[in-house]
Amino acid sequence: MNPESLVFFNLQIYLLGFIFFLSLNNTVFVKTTGAISLVISTLGVIVTSSLLVNNPGTVILTYDWLPVGDEPVHFILLINAQTRFMLFLVQVIACFVNLFSMKYMSDDPGVNRFFAYLNLFVFSMLGLVLAGNLLQLYFFWELVGFCSYLLIGFWYAKKTANAAAIKAFLVNRIGDAFFLAGIFLLYYLYGTFRFDDYAHLSVIERNYIYLDAGQLQTLAVGLLFGGVMAKSAQLPLQVWLPDAMEGPTPASALIHAATMVVAGVFLLGRISPLITADAGLFISITGALTSVIAGFSALYQYDLKKVLAFSTVSQLGFMVAGMGMGEMASSLFHLTTHAFFKAGLFLCAGAIISYLHHEQDMRKMGDLIRKMPTVFAAFLICSGALIGLPLSGGYLSKESILNAAWIYGLRSADYKLVVPVLLTLASFLTTCYVVRMVVMVFFQREDSPVEIILDTTKKTVDGALKSIKGLLTADNKGSGEDRIIQFIRNLGVFDTVTLGLAFCSLWFFYSSNPLHPEDTWFFREFGGIHEMYDWLPWLVGFLILSALLISYNSTLEEIRRYYFKQPEGRWQRWFSRLALRQFYMDNLYERLYRKVFTGRWSILKPVSYIETAWIDAAVVKLGKSSLYLAKMAGTLEKEVVDASVMGFFAGIKSLGNKIRKWGNGNIQLYLTGLIIALAAMVFILIIL
């Protein structure tokens, strides 16, 4: 098959899946949606892998889309190396998540809706990956945001889920506004939206206000980066991602860890020829700062999913910083490894949460090492990859980013050194929170809080819903046998998926050499790797070891304090609260939003005042004054014009009356009058 039909097949099956599942509502086929969806994504993986294996090089497919103006905008599918690996990555993770959700969501009444959204998401994500121009990328960029909105708010009856969904959409909209401005500015500078043109076209020399073309380009990239900040949860627009964990866990794994949030990094890769040195510095510093701040936040979370969310933000910071430094290969490499191990971690978390009856507080977990050994194994491998232990994919990718950062920092002006220092600090923090998480969730504790949770839920949950602990403790003999078999079969899905993703995060998936990233596909395809600092693995290894020791001890201490209800030290408490609440950024935005749109100083008040008291009142006044004028005219008519006419009549009449009195037949009087009149005439004639 040629690449054109391959990608169209890919796009179509997911879209048809979406339409099909949405129409399945309230039918008997609802139960089969998961299976059908799995078939779709498996087909997708197979088709894409043929694209990856055959390697057709760069293919550009052009179709008419917007025949507007002198330069019509085409619908372009751009298939190059960056597209191909991303197509494959998205669908493989989607396939894993699909399998996982079949069990995770099986009891939910809206299961068909879930799979419909999932398919719509994969469709939009593939569209984004294939997009050959900025407009098209923006098109699908918003669509994936929309899917994320739908999936965060999947349980729409839940208030927190709704709030989180709206927040995600709005924060992304703000980012998109910057993105849109960036698109316009780039078009202004280059006269095109196409990615393949940006590489070889030169800037149309334009000056605007005080900026020359180069500065405008920096500004444009900065504006585009505004969109990236929202989508890839970079400072200061990262606030939506932790809240987004309200959605179902498989959706978090697919969208908010592995694929959608890396769309920003993907975009930076697409526009990499445009990133100027200044813009690059800005981007990499933002990324590095984000990774540190999110690392601190992750360190103090109690919610398992939130720890993972902040860890995602932190790792995205790594990738973005890599893109800013111009290290596309290592950034995309880290994107891939991260997708696998973070999806793995999230799905492990999903398994744990489902096992614990939707308990997400890590302090109440513990001892799961005995209860869920396979999930523990998978979790451990993925965590190792997240930390960057040798033999994992994460080691290779993270090392290459750190290496590039040190090169970037040491080779040029000294303030650039900020980037590698921050990134190294972030990798230290990563180890700390990962160790804390593993210890809290899995390690043995004396009074095993899991038992407590399971006991209490057993009491509260109705008898029809059997507690998993009942299944666990049931012995293999007698009547419990088939239940055990059922249990193992059911659990099997979680185990396979998490282990599968854990295997994908090992080194052999990417490189034959477990300790050196040189011969990975990414570096062959995108170039990169100039020089390797030999001291760097030692430094990182030392940091990892020290973090392991520190964090292990402090976590035990933290758990102990939690059980004995001992307060922390003052500054510790202060800092943990600060970190827990994302350094009050979230709070600030919410208060700002409230200030602007509700409350006493809201801008809506003057607006409504202007609307009613000025504009509408002016109109009403105008109407009233015309009425008044009409009344005036009426009075004028009655009192002046009419009155004068009537008065004239009356005057004539009374004159007539008066004259009539004279005409009473007295001839002498007539004669006297005549004579007087004659005399008067003669007199007048003489005078004249």
């Binding site: 889309w65 025949p67 507007v68 923006y138 703000i174």
Partner: protein
């Protein structure tokens, strides 16, 4: 080619109206069917026109020209008023939109049970005058239809409206009528400063023509006239052509409506019955935009370009101000009305760009807003007809109770807030894009215009969340009334939703008809 197909668009509804008037009350069940069948026939005719329309040509097509009357003005000049119909790239998309929206409104009118005879005859009268307005090539004919539209509209709001209908219909009438007066002034000035050269030589007398094609041609200008370019006349210190343009801007701006001439809209919308709100938002607002393009842009291009910044700024103010007001509303219909103001602001922004991208975007935005606002008002009508309550806060968690309704509302809301793949996005994107690339506007205007898409997301999402999400909760007496959509409602909303998606994904469905016509205006 004198096919008479354009006349049929005006005559058919007139005949239908007449038929309803003469049909006795005993047959009143047929009134709505006559109305519906007329609308279907109109849609068939319009699709025929679309099929025969030559997309590469930019001039009027299907021209029908016959003499109406000649008025002798003394011995020197003649006033020639003709019945000319034609359709070009500018009007064809709006003709299509009108016939779609009228069809949907006719279906929605089936619920009318009070004084059907008057209602349906007025409705068809309105249909005829709207088509006449879009098809007229003669300024006088255009003005007649433009004015005549007010009459059925006044009664339709005034008789079948809500509680405060008398005030609303009066406000609507006076507002738009005062706009018309300004247009009338401009019409007279335009006509007396243009001569029809061909007929002038034939009659050996000065012929004043109302034909748009004559008025457009600047060679027809009479040198000593008020609009003359060579000998500029000033009125209150402004060149006469500029004054004419400003009068048109206000006249059509009221219709559009553009802030600060918009306050009739919320009242009229809130009080009007659902089908009339649909027609009002779907079509009547577009006549403002159409009028500006047709009259101001074609006949006074030089004055218009001068005021590009003013048009753009008015658009920007409408976008932001309308959105902020929409945020402020608790009445669903009022919120939608203000969102209309905001969305029509994008049309102004697009036409102020003076480039092909902006014009196309503005036309597309008009089409898309016609579809989407019709959907929005139908959506509000669904709730209002069931409960007689339009307050956003009175409902919660409708998604559980009315899933199909929720889906279609989602299409309408997300379409309006500019989600790609629905038509609103293309219009908003292209108008902003055009304004940004324009040489006539400061970059600040489109950049601030982008804020509009953030604000629209806020008010639509907030409403959507409040009404549809959360646990189902409403007053007890509404619980039984809130049923999911009936088949008719699904038909109306569903067909509009399909159109939104179709034009949003494949916008050249519209662009291929309008592109050549708009490029012509640019020259």
């Amino acid at each position: 080619m004198e096919s008479g197909i354009l006349s049929s668009l005006i005559l058919l509804p007139l005949l239908g109206s007449l038929l309803i008037v003469i049909l006795p009350k005993a047959y009143k069940v047929f009134y709505k069917w006559i109305c519906l069948i007329t609308q279907i026939l109109l849609l068939i005719n319009v699709t025929t026109i679309l099929g025969l329309f030559d997309r590469t040509k930019s001039e009027y097509q299907f021209i029908e020209h016959s003499e109406w009357f000649r008025l002798s003005l003394g011995s020197k000049s003649i006033l020639s008023i003709d019945y000319i119909l034609g359709v070009d790239g500018l009007s064809i998309s709006l003709v299509l939109l009108s016939s779609i929206v009228f069809l949907v409104a006719a279906v929605s009118s089936f619920k009318i049970t009070y004084r059907e005879k008057t209602y349906f005859s007025l409705f068809l009268l309105l249909t005829a005058s709207v088509f006449g307005c879009f098809l007229a090539v003669d300024f006088f004919l255009f003005f007649v239809f433009f004015e005549f539209m007010l009459l059925p509209m006044y009664f339709l709001i005034g008789i079948w409206g809500g509680e405060n209908r008398a005030f609303a219909s009066l406000k609507f009438f006076i507002y738009t009528f005062s706009g018309s007066v300004l247009i009338l002034v401009v019409m007279i000035c335009m006509v007396i400063s243009n001569q029809d050269e061909f007929f002038t030589s034939e009659y050996a007398r000065l012929v004043y023509s109302f034909d748009f094609r004559t008025l457009k041609d600047s060679t027809n200008l009479i040198d000593s006239s008020i609009l003359s370019i060579k000998n500029p006349v000033t009125i209150f210190g402004l060149p006469a052509r500029d004054v004419m343009f400003l009068l048109l801007l206000v006249g059509f701006g009221i219709k559009m409506p553009v802030v600060p001439f918009h306050t009739w809209l919320p009242d009229a919308h809130v009080e009007a019955p659902t089908p009339i709100s649909v027609v009002l938002a779907g079509i009547l607002l577009k006549i403002g935009g159409y009028g500006i393009l047709r009259v101001a842009y074609e006949i006074l291009p030089d004055a218009t370009v001068k005021y590009a910044v003013l048009i753009g700024a008015l658009g920007l103010v409408s976008i932001i101000y309308g959105a902020l007001n929409a945020l402020n509303q608790t009445d669903l219909k009022k919120m939608i009305a203000y969102s209309s103001v905001s969305h029509m602001g994008f049309v102004f922004l697009g036409i102020s760009a003076f480039n092909s991208i902006g014009f196309n975007g503005a036309m597309f935005q008009m089409f898309s807003h016609g579809i989407l606002s019709s959907m929005l008002f139908l959506v509000a009508g669904v709730i209002y007809e069931r409960t007689h309550n339009r307050n956003i806060d009175a409902f919660q968690g409708l998604a559980k109770k009315m899933p199909v309704y929720t889906l279609l509302v989602a299409v309408a809301f997300f379409g309006s807030l500019g989600l790609p793949s629905l038509s609103g996005f293309i219009g908003e994107f292209l108008t902003l894009h055009g304004a940004f690339q324009s040489d006539h506007l400061p970059k600040l205007i489109p950049v601030l215009g982008i804020l509009g898409i953030v604000l629209s997301a806020i008010y639509f999402l907030r409403t959507f969340q409040r009404m549809f999400f959360g646990e189902f909760h409403t007053r007890d007496e509404y619980r039984m009334l809130l049923k999911d959509l009936s088949k008719t409602e699904i038909f109306m909303l569903g067909s509009l939703a399909v159109l939104t998606i179709l034009t949003g994904v494949w916008p050249s469905l519209i662009f291929r008809y309008i592109n050549s016509g708009l490029t012509e205006i640019l020259k």
